[in-house]
């Protein structure tokens, strides 16, 4: 089965325009802000596997604090280097990421917690900012799939679900203008689409990992340990 639209990223504004046409309010821009907000909310609410991504970026450290990037969920690793390019102080360890810069020994030698940091209110906060030898750090992290403004990125396949959510929310907001069965129809479409999208992304994730899972199982089944 070929599932299209996973990698075709479209703007949330496209779902807003579709919903406006459905609701027949295309002659005004008054509700564009409201609908855009709801579209972003819907994408976060779907939460299927395609709405998360592993990313890396360089952040500036100012006064011992580095602002986290948009969509940040979980830190995977942090890498800092001085002006000579020498890596140091790597308190969070993700070996593949730490050694990606070419410093092979970094994971074993400079990973002390002598200048650790923690995450507070959207910032990486260093415990001893005066000891820092750099004003930049490179981090790897799990993120929501957002654009540079923090708005969720939507793929083509999400459009129908988001459109239904927008229509549902709008008709609830203006309930006096829309009959109950219309509201329920939009709600039903939204629920079905959400389940469909989640199921589809799970299946794709499994397909992607199947080879690796198979290899692990084969190794386990055929290993010497099982012969004992």
């Amino acid at each position: 089965m070929i599932e299209v639209g996973k990698y075709s990223i479209v703007s949330l504004q496209e779902a807003v325009e579709s919903a406006k046409e459905m609701l027949r309010i295309q002659d005004t821009t008054e509700f564009d802000g409201f609908l855009l907000r709801k579209a972003d909310e819907a994408m976060r609410h779907i939460g299927d596997a395609t709405t998360y991504a592993k990313r890396a970026c360089t952040v500036d450290i100012v006064d011992g604090r580095a602002r986290l990037p948009m969509g940040f969920i979980r830190l995977l690793g942090a890498r800092m280097s001085d002006s000579n390019g020498n890596c140091f102080d790597q308190p969070y360890l993700d070996l593949a990421f730490l050694t990606d810069c070419g410093c092979e020994n970094v994971a074993s030698t400079n990973n002390g917690f002598n200048n650790s940091f923690e995450i507070q209110e959207g910032y990486i906060v260093f415990h001893v900012p005066s000891d820092l030898e750099t004003d930049k750090m490179r981090i790897a992290y799990i993120s929501r799939t957002v654009d540079e403004d923090g708005l969720m990125l939507m793929s083509e396949r999400h459009e129908r679900g988001i459109e239904a959510y927008l229509c549902y929310q709008f008709t609830v907001s203006f309930f006096e203008n829309y009959p109950v069965n219309i509201r329920q129809e939009y709600q039903r479409t939204w629920k079905n689409q959400k389940q469909h999208l989640k199921g589809m992304s799970q299946r794709e994730r499994f397909e992607e990992n199947k080879r690796q899972i198979g290899a692990l199982l084969n190794a386990w089944i055929t290993s010497d340990r099982n012969d004992r």
Binding site: R24, T29, D32, L36, D149, G150, F174
Partner: protein, 208 residues
Amino acid sequence: MADEGGIFTDESRYDVGTMLTVLNAARAFAITEMYRKNTRVHPNFIQRVYPEYKKNLQQDDCYTLFEIPRTVEINDKMDGLMYVGSIKGDEAFWKVRTRMQLSSRRNHRIHKLAQKKHIHFLYDTTRGYLEIYDPKVKYPLVEGIFEDPTSVPQFSFDHDEYPITNDAMKRIEDLVRRGTIVDSMRMPINKISNSQEDSNIQRDVQTK
């Protein structure tokens, strides 16, 4: 006005100005009625305005003010402004209904973001101004349904047609006839000039 017993004299208020006001009101009513039925506005009703940038009108560096005529409120979602945007007509600005809404929207990150990415406007009906929240906008285009189509700056009595459709004309004729002319004919003539609404009393006296 409605106590002349159907007799129209030079002193009647049925002059061109009054009738034009009645006509405009009936037109607005007909448009609202048609929108309720069809959920659309016929293009014939829409007029185009190129508001003039006046330097002495400006009050703030954050937005530009333009004078525009009053519009017809069609329903709770449509205030008669069908397009406010770039002069080419390819970029509609985002509408903010009230100053309160503008203020409260600044409390939400997505609205704040939208305000940065899209030009917003506010139609201040109390002053008759259009506030466009981008000081760079000097030549906007406005398309709308205006209360008095003849007061639109670029309207010419000689060259432009009154913005109306045949259907609406028939409806307006009915409305004006029923609401204004028939009402005046129903009322008996007031012969005594005493600034009193006493037409009925006079009729009763005459009958007796």
